[in-house]
Symmetry: C2
């Protein structure tokens, strides 16, 4: 085996090992020493094939994002001929997200818990993969709010995702709400529908509406 | 000083020390050994005045909740004579929450990162304090959706809070969205207004709307 091939093989083994660790015990359990022992290499060798441990963790995150992408996909994307179809698609995405998070709780949580060390920026390829996921939410938003420019729509997609994520994350933590999953799904779907229904409020988002002047409405 | 007074004083010192640690370095930095050294007691003595370290961390959380309660309070609570007033109050609460989180990021984050060890339930007094906070959001929801029964309104208040929390948490993490604070505030306020505007969707939340049947809308 050539050195390049050996490196590729070692990378995959290390990602596999880190993936198992994260899926079973979460992000905090990922230690270079344990991973090296598991795949039978020296600790230092890890840094021949990964720039840093963050890169390895992001490779696992990338697999999680790919799983999520598959879970959110539909065989043939709807064309959103009507607003109702667009709303139904947003609800479908939100419920599929809840379903994915509930099924893959530990590795899904790891996606959000991970922070880059030393204030390193996220690598471009990872950001790109996130963008592809958000594009799924941008599509129905485009049908609902066709007058928004692309940048405004992108920001809004992230805001709507964040709202959905909050309901899913706190709901599954059962910290504030202890609801059976179907009830949580009902709350989530209704909130997404309410946001879509009240979308006139999202057309022109006022940037001057700052916390410093909370009484403004 | 009587033993009971000494214990009370030691509790306060330990809470102060844990509070400083959490506010500066986050939850992971809280170690019984360091706290004991800081207040000058034996490690074991901590467990004379606290049932477990979780109780101590919750006491710090309780101070954070009290600060948040003060930040969300208004001199004279509005009576929500109109739907517009109720919506404005919801927006005010959401923006005050964002403002608080931005100002007290580390200790606010600790509130949500903390999980009870050994699957202990949250103590009743802490749950009560959370309830008081949610009551602030239940008030405008009552004005907007007077036909909801108390339980449905309580669940909905938690759902709306979770959506707000998601926008604040992911927005401040700058993981998905990197927006200046005023823009984030604009996104948050518009989303809360949209939810309020689309509130017909929240009147009768369908419990059967489960992820297993995502095409139902």
């Amino acid at each position: 085996m050539k050195q390049a091939d050996r490196n590729t093989a070692l990378r995959e083994q290390l990602i596999d090992a880190a993936e198992r660790t994260i899926a079973e015990n979460g992000l905090a359990a990922v230690k270079a020493r344990d991973l090296a022992r598991e795949v039978g290499c020296a600790v230092g060798t890890i840094y021949n094939v990964f720039e840093h441990l963050d890169e390895l963790v992001l490779c696992v995150g990338s697999r999680t994002l790919a799983m999520l992408e598959a879970a959110l996909a539909v065989p043939s994307p709807s064309r959103h001929g009507s607003a109702d179809e667009a709303v139904a698609d947003m609800v479908r995405l939100a419920l599929a997200y809840l379903d994915f998070a509930a099924k893959h709780m530990v590795r899904w949580r790891a996606l959000f818990e991970h922070r880059m060390s030393e204030a390193r920026p996220l690598p471009e390829w990872f950001v790109e993969q996130q963008h592809r996921l958000f594009a799924q939410l941008e599509r129905p938003l485009k049908a609902l709010l066709p007058e928004l420019d692309r940048n405004a729509r992108r920001i809004l997609a992230r805001t709507v995702f964040s709202a959905v994520h909050g309901i899913v994350a706190l709901g599954l933590e059962e910290k504030l709400v202890s609801l059976p999953l179907p009830d949580l799904a009902g709350q989530l779907a209704a909130t997404v529908r309410a946001i879509a229904e009240g979308r006139d409020e999202l057309r022109a988002i006022d940037r001057g509406d700052r916390p410093a002047d909370p009484r403004r409405s």
